[in-house]
């Protein structure tokens, strides 16, 4: 779950990706867009959608563990009493 790379050979430097990124992951850098805070990417594909050059690559797969959503009810978890 994150933006993977920006292909700088394809990139035209329009900075639309940086303008629309809701999570401030892509920033305007000295030589065009820069992936600055990848760990905050929410894989929303806004940058991919706006990029006129098809230069941004985002992966939809989740990297972070989901945590114990089922809490003590998850049969795979050890029973945790109150």
């Amino acid at each position: 779950m994150a933006v993977e790379r920006i292909d700088h050979d394809e990139c035209t430097g329009c900075l639309l990706c940086a303008e629309v990124c809701p999570m401030d992951v892509i920033r305007p850098g000295e030589n065009g867009p820069r992936i600055s805070y990848r760990e905050d990417c929410q894989s929303c594909y806004m940058c991919v959608q706006k990029c006129p050059a098809g230069a941004v690559e985002v992966s939809p797969w989740r990297v972070y563990p989901l945590g114990r959503i089922y809490g003590r009810f998850d049969p795979k978890e050890r029973w945790i009493p109150d």
Binding site: E19, D24, D40, Q42, P60
Partner: protein
């Protein structure tokens, strides 16, 4: 950018609610500044939503039936007058917006295409929300609204009991600014704790925390426990609409557990569905999968959710053919929850001059105890944004400006104090730990007094760690520090209210008090006095109808 900016109305957060508020206030002649920590219009869940907007339509729907169905679902905590005002006013607003060229999906005869959804009586109109929000942003710009993107708001500036503006910093250069205004609208969305439901990571509860700190009252916080359904192994926006459109959820044996009996299926919306999923897993029949082979409207889905389709294409995912594991995805007070800042029918909070709208404002007056009604959130943001913009413009024109200055150096020292502090623990780690804790079904969905107290203890520890052991390296991380601080505050309010409601009602279920108790036919409010949260019961008051939605 100037360090001090003057305006009549400052709007904090540019989702559907905030941008509507800004546009409405500007239409009424106010000088408006719209602030967003990302890009106003296209950043919050509003832009990623699937565009189902709950809408009662006269001539097609009976107002009496709708109001009664919602009163039944609200289980004594919502109000007939609010419901009537909301349904009628929101319809007027939708008509006005459609007349002005906002993009709604229409059929060949020019009528709204309508879809059903999960809830007591749900019929929605549909709109491609990204397009809608771009148009809204352009409308604001052409009305002269000053739009400040990448401005992270931190606090409402107070002069005694009176709000006089908003302070925050620029995300790129860390510069602190004050927007001095006669009235302030809080519309930063809800608090999602960056949970496992997508397109809503900007919603970290800052508006709720800011409002609390300036003396405003929150209400229905125990219902800040909304669960949607999300995919377990990848991220897509807009999954929530699928169940209502021919999709279904099945257990590991292939059984459609929530369709098993007639009565139950009609009630399987929102948290009831999440609870059914947990029970299935508890009975050893997990995991749960989405079966979308019967999903209709694929072409429409592509129009409404372009980013979802991109994700599927780029990831080579066959969402409609294959079965994918789904999990209850906690969204907190964000989306179809009843929780938020208390407002009256004029969009006013309990602090004069401070207004709230959208997911920042509580929806309980219309949803009551019912958590998870399809289309309610966009309708609420649309309607209350308009209300708050109107109210804030009116308040600003009737009040004097504040001539006092702001001590920028003091402000800078305070707002930037976590910057450069040596951090043992990063704010991201604290926010993630909180998110994982609040998302647990045994904390937020199937509750007990002792577990709530246990989580509250952890929250206090994390708050202490954030304030004493954590800092920020740069303005971006400073934003996350404030997000963590705000989310902790919202979690505290939620847990305290949930402990106080010693019964089960609607989306609030207590293992230790499984029945509904008429003694609790009361709304729970949370206020902050000298930094300490206080919980009290208030009578749910009937409110006079004041219209809304007019052009």
């Amino acid at each position: 950018m100037n360090n001090v900016i003057k305006a009549d109305v400052a709007v904090v957060g540019g989702g559907l609610a905030g941008i509507n508020a800004a546009r409405r206030a500007a239409e009424l002649g106010a000088r408006v500044v719209l602030l967003d920590k990302a890009r106003a219009g296209t950043s919050g869940p509003s832009a990623f939503s699937s565009g189902d907007i709950l809408c009662w339509v006269p001539g097609q729907d009976s107002l009496g039936d709708w109001v009664q169905a919602y009163l039944d679902a609200g289980e004594g905590l919502n109000s007939r007058a609010w419901l009537t005002m909301f349904f009628e006013g929101h319809y007027r607003l939708v008509e006005n917006l459609a007349g002005r060229g906002f993009p709604f999906i229409l059929d060949g005869n020019g009528n709204f295409v309508r879809r059903s959804g999960q809830g007591p009586t749900v019929k929605c109109v549909l709109a491609p929300m990204q397009e809608f929000q771009e148009k809204n942003r352009q409308a604001c710009a052409s009305l002269g609204v000053t739009i400040l993107d990448r401005f992270c708001a931190v606090e409402v500036l107070m002069q005694g009991p009176r709000p006089v503006g908003v302070a925050g910093f620029n995300l790129y250069d860390g510069r602190v600014s004050a927007v001095l205004a006669r009235s302030v609208v809080i519309s930063t969305g809800g608090c999602s704790y960056r949970g496992p439901f997508f397109g809503q990571d900007t919603a970290a509860g800052e508006g709720l925390a800011m409002a609390l700190a300036s003396g405003a009252r929150l209400a229905y916080m125990e219902y800040g426990n909304h669960y949607d359904v999300g995919l377990a192994s990848f991220d897509t926006c807009g999954h929530s609409r699928f169940a209502a459109h021919g999709g279904r959820y099945v257990n590991s044996l292939g059984g459609a557990f929530h369709e098993r009996d007639e009565t139950r299926s009609r009630h399987v919306y929102g948290n009831a569905l999440a609870k059914a999923m947990v029970e299935e897993v508890r009975a050893g029949k997990g995991p749960i999968y989405a079966d979308l082979s019967g999903f209709r409207d694929r072409r429409l889905a592509a129009r409404l959710m372009p980013n979802l389709m991109l994700a599927l294409d780029c990831g080579g995912i066959d969402l409609f053919g294959d079965h994918h594991e789904v999990v209850p995805a906690f969204t907190g007070t964000s989306g179809a929850s009843s929780a938020g800042i208390w407002i009256d029918p004029g969009g006013r909070t309990s602090v004069a001059g401070l207004f709230a709208a959208g997911d920042s404002a509580c929806k309980g007056m219309v949803t009551g105890a019912c958590v998870g009604i399809s289309g309610i959130s966009l309708a609420w943001a649309n309607f209350t944004g308009h209300l708050a913009g109107q109210g804030a413009a009116g308040y600003a024109s009737a009040s004097d400006g504040w001539d006092g200055g702001v001590d920028l150096r003091e402000l800078e020292g305070r707002l930037l104090s976590p910057l450069g502090r040596r951090a043992v623990k990063g704010p991201r780690d604290i926010l993630r730990a909180l998110s994982n804790e609040m998302a647990r079904a045994d904390v937020s969905l199937i509750r007990s007094g002792s577990r709530l107290a246990g989580t509250l203890g952890k929250v206090s520890t994390w708050r202490w760690e954030l304030e004493n052991l954590s800092g920020a390296e740069d303005p971006h991380e400073l934003m996350i520090w404030y997000e963590a601080k705000s989310s902790l505050s919202v979690a505290e309010a939620t847990l305290l209210a949930a402990m106080e409601r010693r019964e089960s009602r609607g989306g609030h279920y207590r293992e230790d008090y499984q029945d509904k108790n008429p003694e609790f036919d009361l709304v729970i409010a949370v206020e902050e006095i000298n930094g300490v949260k206080c919980v009290k019961f208030v009578d749910e008051q009937e409110v006079p109808s004041v219209g809304g939605g007019e052009d």
